[in-house]
Symmetry: C2
Subunit: 218 residues, 2 copies
């Protein structure tokens, strides 16, 4: 069903995808935006509930308010590193979001009420609705990569601030703010790896056989 | 960076990927298994925490116990449809897992303690560790698809049963049981769509502009 070339293409995009925080203001073609959203919409979802919505933010005024919410959270979090001075200054020097610069921010939400009271599978594990939404985000991210676009997942905010700014009802979960645009810098390695914040772990020790803790080597 | 063919290949796999519940016993080549795990390991993760482990279940005895845990949950859930007789019999006729038939089940777990006490981003939104794990699962699913393999995400179980069976520590989250193998039946549409359990939603009404509820047409 898939050729050797198609297989290589998938692995190429999976390995090349990066989380980007620096954007050019160049507008994004409508076709690319549609491809991103349609890729997200074809993610798997528990009980086929498709719990996602996509709020497309292009208004500069709205972006300024979201950037304020993220910056406020960044400054609050920096306080938790106050006992490790080097780590705190490292943290404060990381660029953690590009909401104001990127031409488009998408707020991806999850509606836990979609599909009614007894969604297949979600009845056992309620957070599968959020996990489905994360699968949609991953599809969108891979799509952005092949479209030549950079994407950054911003996870610094209080959900209630984002609900207030985007007028999102209280039961809806604003799972992610995704900043999207073209970029000059698409690094080979994750920014947090290059900046020595964290290393990529070796795969083998993460694999167990038939039970937790029993190492398997592949 | 990506050719038109590579772009098409990604969208093909995103659109063709299905959730499968019927498997052949044929063993899976080691190389394909490695490709699946490495794809998962290259998912994005909050603060680059890489919170996942992969428990590879091939023991028939362990699979029997997991299948028992899933079946017990399925029977318990059926009771919640007792007031809708048609829905209940529809539910009971759906094949919801293929743990015993598939040659391999992978339990993907999430360790919320990995990366220490103050993981970048997870400090604001704690469940981003599970969302990262879901991104890893989606990568693995797309990889399975290009490898010609079928994958089914089983979400019918009590987490404590799976912890007991696989000797998983209490703080580790068994996010998913993934059944993997070759299949005779790789349908064009989701099983829940074909069996009239749920329809695929139209994309346009899910898209809003600058705030919740404001329709955007693309």
């Amino acid at each position: 069903m898939f050729t050797e070339e198609e297989k290589k293409a998938l692995y190429k995009v999976i390995y090349k995808r990066r989380d980007i925080r620096t954007f050019q203001p160049t507008p994004i073609p409508e076709e690319s935006i549609y491809n991103l959203l349609n890729a997200a919409h074809h993610a798997p979802s528990v009980g086929f509930m498709q719990p996602w919505n996509f709020i497309m933010i292009t208004s500069q005024a709205v972006k300024e308010r979201l950037a304020w919410a993220a910056d406020k959270e960044r400054r609050a979090l920096a306080i938790h590193y106050e006992e490790q001075e080097a780590k705190q200054s490292h943290f404060l020097n990381l660029k953690i979001e590009g909401i104001k610069e990127s031409p488009l921010t998408i707020c991806v939400t999850c509606d836990p009420t979609r599909g009614g009271s007894h969604v297949l599978g979600r009845n056992s594990i309620p957070e599968t609705d959020q996990l489905s939404t994360a699968c949609a985000i991953q599809n969108m991210w891979l799509a952005a990569c092949v479209e030549g676009l950079a994407l950054g997942w911003v996870s610094f905010y209080k959900k209630q601030d984002v609900r207030d700014i985007l007028e999102i009802p209280p039961h809806i979960d604003p799972v992610a703010l995704l900043t999207i645009g073209y970029t000059d810098e698409y690094p080979d390695k994750p920014i947090l790896e290059t900046s020595k914040w964290e290393d990529r772990k070796k795969l083998n020790p993460l694999i167990y056989k038939n039970k937790w803790g029993e190492n398997e080597s592949l």
